[in-house]
Symmetry: C3
Subunit: 191 residues, 3 copies
C-alpha cells in the first residue's frame, strides 16, 4: 500500500534505478512489515535543474545523486517505526550507491478507506486485505474509530500475521530476480 | 478542487490519455458532486521501468496499461462515498480502455484553507467558493471547526446546491468538446 | 522542510524556471519563516496536454503558463498564515512572469516525525533541527503531543528564533547567485 514516489536526476542506469527501487521496497518490508507484493512505486527522472535540495541548515553538501523518497502510506506507524524506516532506507540505499547525504524522505498518511488496488474495490474496507499494523498493537487511528461499528468482514489480528510475508533479507540479486518476475507487466524480465 | 495526479506508462495516444483524464473527472463529478469546472489534473507519462505496481498479494496480474490515480482533495467524504468513487472510476475508466486490474487509486485529504485556485486567494476561506460536501450533510471537519467563529462570507448550503452542476453523463465526444473549449489554454482544441 | 512539487507546461527557459522556483522559496521563507536553506523543490515539466486546470467555476481563463504549486509541509500554520502565503506566492511569481490567474496552490500537512533530510535521521525528532512554527506560538499539534514526554534534545523556542534566517528580500539576481552557489550539486552555477 505505500505509494512511493521516487524522484531523481536523470543519468542513472536502469539497473541502478531498479536497485534503488528495490532497496526502498526492501526497507519498507523490513521495518513496516508490509507484504512483499505490496509494492507501488513511481520513479520520475528529472533534468539536473529540476531538483533542488539544500541541507535545511544542517551543514552538508548534496550531489547530483540526490534521491527524494516521498512515501504515501496508512496511519498507524509510531515515530520509532518511522525513525527505523529512515535508518533502514539509508542503509539499504547505500548499497545501491546512494550516499546518506543524498537521501531525502518525506512521509504522508491517510486511512484504510483511501486505497483501491484494483477493480474499483476498497480492499481494506471490503475485507480483501487486512489493515497493516494491526498485528503490532499499532492500530491505525482511522481503523480504531470505525472498528466499533464496522460490519465489513475485517480480518482479525491473527490473520494479519498469517498473511504478512516474513521480512525478506535475501541477497540483492535474488530480490531482483524475484521482483522482476512479478512486475506490472507480463513481459520477460530485463537482462 | 481535487488535484489529481495520473501516472501511466508512455505509449498511449493523446486521445486515449484525454479519455482517461475525462473519465477520472466524470467519476469525481458523479460521485463527489464536485463542480464540472473543478478540474485539476496532472498527467505524467513514464518509461516502462518507472512504474512498479504489484498486486498487494491479491493474486492478479497487471499490464503495462497500469494507471495510478493519486487524488488530493478536501476532507469530508465518507467511506461509502470513497468506495462509490473507486467503483465509478473503474467503470468509467473501463470505457477508456483501462482494465479494472490496472487501476490503482490513492486518496489524500486536507482542508478548505489549503487551496488557492488563482490570484493568491484562498477561495474557500474568503467566500469565493462554497466548501464542497456541505450540501450533503457531510461537512468537512475543518469547516466545522472554523464555522463557529468565521466572519468570512461563506456560502450557505442552499448556494452550494445551486452552484453545483448536475452530474454530466454525456457521450465522451460531447464531454471532450465541452472541456477542450475551456481548458487552461485559449488555443483551439486538438482534433 | 516543505517539499514543493512545481508542475508546469514545457517551454519556459531554464532561467525562468529558476526564477519561479526562487519565487516560491522566497515566499515560503517570508511568510512561513522557514530557514533559507530549507529548500526542497521538484520541478516537473509536462507536454501541453498533460496539465488540465480549469477555473473551479470562478469565471476566468488560464493560459499555457499555468503553474501548479503542490506544497507538502508540517502542521502548525494558521489559516491566516496560509492565506498570506498564497498572496505572497502570487506577488512573487508575478515578478517571475506567472500571472495570478495561472497560479494554483494546494497544501498538505504532516508532522515532525515525517521528515528525514539526510543520513536516515529524523532530524526534527532527534534534535538536529528545531520544529518550525514553535517560535510563533503556533506549535504543531503533533509536537504538542510529544512534547510532554519527549526526552530527545529538542531545541527550545529561543533557539528556533536564533536559527531562523531573517526573511530575504534581496533582488532576484542576488538570490539566484546565493542559491546557485549552494545547490544539491557542487558544480558551478549555470550562466
Amino acid at each position: 500500500m505505500p505509494l512511493v514516489r521516487i524522484d531523481m536526476i536523470r543519468g542513472r542506469s536502469p539497473e541502478n534505478i531498479w536497485a534503488i527501487a528495490d532497496a526502498v521496497q526492501r526497507s519498507l518490508i523490513d521495518v513496516l512489515k508490509i507484504p512483499e507484493r505490496d509494492r507501488f512505486q513511481i520513479v520520475t527522472q528529472h533534468d539536473p535543474d529540476e531538483i533542488i535540495a539544500l541541507d535545511a541548515g544542517l551543514g552538508f553538501e548534496r550531489t547530483s545523486g540526490t534521491v527524494i523518497v516521498h512515501i504515501f502510506s496508512q496511519r498507524g506507524r509510531s515515530t520509532e517505526d518511522k525513525q527505523l524506516a529512515y535508518r533502514t532506507l539509508a542503509q539499504q540505499l547505500a548499497e545501491a550507491g546512494v550516499d546518506g547525504k543524498d537521501l531525502f524522505v518525506s512521509y504522508f498518511e491517510n486511512g484504510p478507506e483511501d486505497w483501491s488496488f484494483a477493480d474499483g474495490r476498497a480492499q481494506y474496507i471490503e475485507g480483501d486485505l487486512p489493515i497493516p499494523g494491526q498485528a503490532d498493537g499499532d492500530r491505525p487511528v482511522t481503523a480504531h474509530r470505525s472498528a466499533g461499528t464496522a460490519s465489513a468482514p475485517h480480518h482479525d489480528v491473527g490473520e494479519v500475521v498469517s498473511l504478512s510475508v516474513p521480512a525478506v533479507r535475501t541477497a540483492s540479486s535474488c530480490w531482483l530476480q524475484q521482483s522482476f518476475g512479478t512486475r506490472w507487466r507480463p513481459h520477460a524480465p530485463r537482462r
